[in-house]
């Protein structure tokens, strides 16, 4: 019974649509849970700036406030270990997701970002068996998600030498930034770019940059943002444009919530859980776009039962 338990969400950044969708999902799922008396509280907290130190302080404050569990989207996989360890020592359950932490006392709900990168290249291989030149748009330097996705992409390209990465820029998961970076490097790139591999939040910017440069639009892998999907659909309707889209579903925060609740309930939950990333294909595009709100991200939210299934699968 967890009716008297309090769960907090510690979030390091709220400045993009993915994070906003994540916070909305949290609200949507936890509010009814609180009303239903499943837990006593499920409060979200966001730091003002995307900084490890600020989040470490936030975690410490949450411990002081007597939360029984902290659901954590971490600014850094390692640098919060000190604060996480202190929380564990104080008897607080820590469940990390998306931005996971390496501290052994915490639970991790990981998405295989590396696999996501690989899948992007494999999709291109499918569509373009002859291969060709591709452009890579990376995320924020020094953050492990960026490194993991990029590693996957490069591994897959190494395995498929018909592809060649002719340029790599950092778009910081921000479409305006991605647009500027791509616009800058495009003129120096060969004319026959066949694909753009991305990390999410940057596909639309890339498309704009190609359009502004007057180049034919290659296959740009999208990142599930509504504007990306909408652009894709527009192209699809106009000229049959085909691509794929993948990202972690912001609703993973709700899975983390249920996992934390189950641990508090005394259930045995393995420390490492993996969830698949959410992928949108040509066939599922229309439906995904329909269910994604304007300015949001394609999403799945988890119920207590969904969470139970994920846990059971991991135990096997």
């Amino acid at each position: 019974d967890t009716a008297d338990k309090k769960i907090a969400l510690s979030n390091n950044y709220a400045g993009n649509s993915w994070r906003q969708a994540m916070l909305r999902s949290w609200d949507k799922v936890t509010k009814p849970a609180v009303t239903a008396g499943i837990v006593a509280a499920a409060d979200p907290f966001t730091t003002a700036e995307n900084q490890v130190t600020e989040q470490a302080a936030q975690i410490q404050n949450l411990v002081l406030q007597g939360y029984n569990a902290i659901v954590l989207n971490a600014a850094s996989p390692d640098a919060l270990n000190g604060a996480v360890k202190e929380a564990c020592d104080a008897g607080v359950i820590v469940v990390s997701f998306d931005g996971i932490v390496t501290e052994p006392c915490a639970w991790r709900i990981a998405v295989d970002f590396k696999q996501m990168g690989k899948d992007e290249v494999l999709y291109l291989k499918d569509k373009l068996p002859k291969g060709g030149n591709i452009l890579e748009i990376r995320g924020l330097a020094g953050v492990f998600v960026d490194d993991a996705i990029s590693k996957g992409i490069h591994e897959a390209v190494a395995e498929n030498p018909q592809f060649k990465i002719v340029g790599s820029v950092h778009g910081d998961w921000d479409q305006a930034k991605a647009q500027a970076a791509v616009a800058g490097i495009l003129p120096s790139l060969p004319n026959d770019i066949v694909g753009v591999v991305t990390q999410g939040g940057d596909g639309y910017g890339a498309a704009q940059a190609f359009k502004a440069a007057g180049r034919t639009t290659p296959i740009i892998i999208m990142g599930n943002r509504q504007d990306e999907l909408a652009w894709w659909k527009e192209q699809k309707d106009a000229n049959g444009y085909e691509t794929m889209s993948a990202s972690i579903a912001p609703g993973v925060s709700t899975l983390a919530f249920w996992v934390a609740q189950q641990i508090l309930d005394g259930k045995d939950v393995p420390k490492d859980l993996t969830v698949p990333f959410l992928r949108v294909d040509q066939a599922t595009l229309d439906k995904s776009l329909e269910t994604t709100e304007k300015g949001g991200v394609a999403n799945v939210e988890y119920s207590a039962e969904d969470a139970q299934k994920v846990v059971d699968a991991a135990k096997k």
């Binding site: 906003q20 003002a48 921000d174 305006a176 500027a180 490097i185 120096s188 704009q208 504007d227 300015g295």
Partner: protein, 319 residues
């Protein structure tokens, strides 16, 4: 040196020259990579993106000119707020373009008034006042739009992406704007007042300068330009986003100082902004083109900035 014709001597004496020299050098190195191919397109892209930084750079420049400690850190948040509010108000309708512009500028006016109220009524140092208000503005933007990306009206998108002969129309407009603001700084009473305050606020007051109104106007102007930038940027990049202003914090300050204005205030020039904006964009492009990884890219960017400022100072020393 004495043998030089007067024109060249005057040109060399311009503090903004080095920003352009650096930009040109970086451009040459970039197109060296491709053997000259794509040089024009790189410039087009540079002008396209420099435009937005220059718009906010002008406002920042006026604020920085007001003297030590004066800086506007709320520019990014204002860009975001204005972009969000404007796109929502326009709601993709071409007929509402003007309304959207007015709303975006009004956001700027409100932010500017709020900033200056903190500075003057509560006597909070500008750097902290504008930082604090930027948090409030960011929250307002989140609460207002929750990051909703609404497409800009088609006419606005077309205008912000239009080109003539490879030159972005918007860039041409902002070059004109920069020229006007340079004239305001040098040749109007207001500009002189700003510069006077930057050198010695007390002396300015005692020389009859209306210090309060002049500073107020500068802070409002900075926020209004940020609002304008947010409006145009959301038109250009297909809607507003919560993070759209982020990069303009460091950029706006960097433009002012690399452009040859004094960070201590009292001595500024607008032309340098364009040189610095082109330079900053081209540096990133050059390093991307040469395939530098993030680490080396940051490192080189830093070293290049320092090298430019040292080179500019060498010119001053030999003058």
């Amino acid at each position: 040196m004495n043998a030089e014709p007067g024109f060249i001597r005057r040109l060399v004496a311009k503090p903004w020259l080095w920003a352009y020299v650096a930009a040109a050098a970086v451009w040459l190195v970039t197109i060296l990579f491709t053997g000259g191919r794509g040089g024009g397109e790189v410039l087009t892209a540079a002008f396209t993106f420099a435009t937005f930084s220059v718009i906010v750079g002008i406002g920042q420049l006026y604020v920085v000119t007001l003297g030590p400690g004066n800086v506007d850190l709320s520019i990014p948040a204002t860009i975001t707020l204005a972009g969000a509010v404007a796109t929502k108000v326009m709601d993709t309708q071409d007929g509402l373009i003007l309304v959207g512009l007015i709303v975006a500028l009004a956001c700027g006016v409100a932010v500017g008034c709020f900033n200056y109220a903190l500075i003057i009524i509560l006597r909070i140092p500008p750097i902290i006042a504008t930082l604090s208000s930027s948090f409030l503005i960011q929250s307002t933007a989140i609460a207002y739009g929750r990051g909703i990306r609404i497409k800009p009206p088609a006419a606005l998108a077309d205008f912000t992406t239009a080109q003539v002969l490879g030159m972005p129309v918007l860039a041409l407009c902002v070059i004109a704007l920069a020229a006007v603001m340079e004239i305001v700084l040098r040749r109007t009473v207001y500009g002189r007042w700003v510069t006077a305050i930057g050198q010695n606020m007390r002396a300015a007051r005692l020389a009859g300068v209306n210090v309060g109104r002049t500073r107020f106007t500068a802070y409002v102007m900075s926020a209004v330009f940020a609002g304008l930038c947010g409006y145009l940027l959301s038109g250009f990049s297909g809607g507003s986003s919560l993070s759209m202003g982020e990069e303009y914090l460091l950029t706006s300050i960097a433009l002012v100082v690399i452009g040859g204005s004094s960070v201590a205030g009292g001595y500024s020039n607008v032309p340098g902004l364009w040189g610095a904006a082109l330079f900053l964009f081209l540096v990133v492009t050059m390093l991307n083109t040469y395939g530098f990884g993030a680490g080396l890219r940051y490192l080189s960017t830093g070293l290049i900035i320092i090298a430019v400022i040292v080179a500019a100072s060498a010119r001053k020393a030999t003058r």
